[in-house]
Amino acid sequence: MERLLAVAVNTFRETLRDKILYNLVLFAVLLIGSSVLLGTLTIGEQARIVNDLGLAAINVVAVIIAIFIGIGLVSKEIERRTIYTLLARPITRSQFVLGKYLGLALVILVNIGIMFAMFLATMMLSGHPVHASLFQAVELMMVEALLIMAFALLFSTFTSSVLSATLTLGIYVIGHLTSDLKTIAEKNASGVIKSLTTTLYYAFPNLETLNIKGQSAAGISVDLGFQVIATIYGLLYTGLLLVGACLIFQRRDF
């Protein structure tokens, strides 16, 4: 466990010393700030506009970090050959993979936390009400980022950074469209298309389950039971992906 934590802390430190991260957070802060200005241009719905833009900014930055830093977690170690000296230490390959994941997960959670704190401060300073639903939306955003990052890590254990980024981005887009796949399956008479779309619907993660930004922005809370099940769904999916990443990494030659 100590070795896993050492890798996690090193990953956390590496990401924090990366300038890209600060640029992303700065981008989010600007977006949250500008949402207040945009809100003043609308009549009656200022709070909702600020909520919408603020949550979207946090979500975009979290997903960008999850994908673009996530894909480099393992592949960068292999490309730079730092993996050689790491695996020559008494650390298992699974400890290494999980340590890398834990380190970046910590970065994402801390970043979402900071961005959300800024967002709440903006809301309060501009006199808008802070609904409990915002916390629910951000919690599911965290789960989504963890899930996307697990995909990025899984792909980076067996393919190049560019391909990993493309595949993860593809999963992210399809993951938000899986309900359309179900609709196609229901409406299509052809047996082949029906079974194909149904398989895809169940194989891909349903990321829309983790997206409650719309109703949260309007101040509508979701049922706590739904929140818990959606969280468990996301974390279980993440766990499966991490097991897959460990198994693949275990068999790799360097």
Binding site: R3, N10, R13, E14, Y84, A88
Partner: protein, 310 residues
Amino acid sequence: MNAITIERVTKVYEPLWPWHRASTVLSDVSLSVAKGEIFGFLGHNGAGKTTTMKILLGLLRPTSGKVDVLGAPAGDVATHSQLGYLPEAPYFYDYLTAEEFLEFYGKLAGMSRDAIQCRIPILLKQVGLQEAQDRQLRKFSKGMLQRIGLAQALIQDPALVVLDEPMSGLDPMGRKEVRDLIINLREQGKTVFFSTHILSDVEMICDRVGILAKGKMLALGTVEELVDGQLAESIEVVCDGVIGTQIEPVRRLALRTLQSGARCLMVLPGHECLDEILEALRRAGARLVSIIPHKGSLEELFVHKSHGEG
């Protein structure tokens, strides 16, 4: 007891596509390194040295054969607590300072915080980097990176140290320091397995040597065993006042003659013909300048073996 045992190891990279050919990088390689020994692993680029080292560390799996490291099969993570490794042309986390870097590797090796804090200044002094303790690795020169790489390999005071080209990137002074460090490790009872291109280093410090070419083990033994057994001695005679090629025994027996004005250098195949040549030179009125016996060097053996394989 052996620190390393490699028995009939072959490594074949299977092709990605059916129309490509499989590539054999190691073919039936066997060697053993006794505990407390310095073993030099020689070979051209692409000979298979790094592949052998990666197999020792469990980074690669052999296609066939058996590899034991410190009494356990290669890749056994538990034995890695007794192992230090420096890869060729190492790249390390450049955002870390030298101290943070060694601390990280100390934690990975399972050392306590106190033990790490005690060990870091000793190691930095040993590799001559005590003044760079708080400097980020991105500001390190190639030679400094090599030194900090050595320090990380030694962080937990391992029983076996595997070094891939440890002298590369170092100036003559740095090379001498690394040589001294390796000798010092032997004095502490450690086993050192290292690869290099620099033959003089091997001759100077290695207890035993292995020569690898195109994935095959060509020679294995002490430097003396290899050189004495496989290369003939020669004798170099230099004299003044004669034209070597005009003297019949010289023409008949010398392997090579070189004439520069009145000075003649001749290379004889061994002691057997020396008396006859000296007698002939005396009769011809030559003045003897020097007689130098030449033993075969590791370099000659390396070239001889490598060419034989090619």
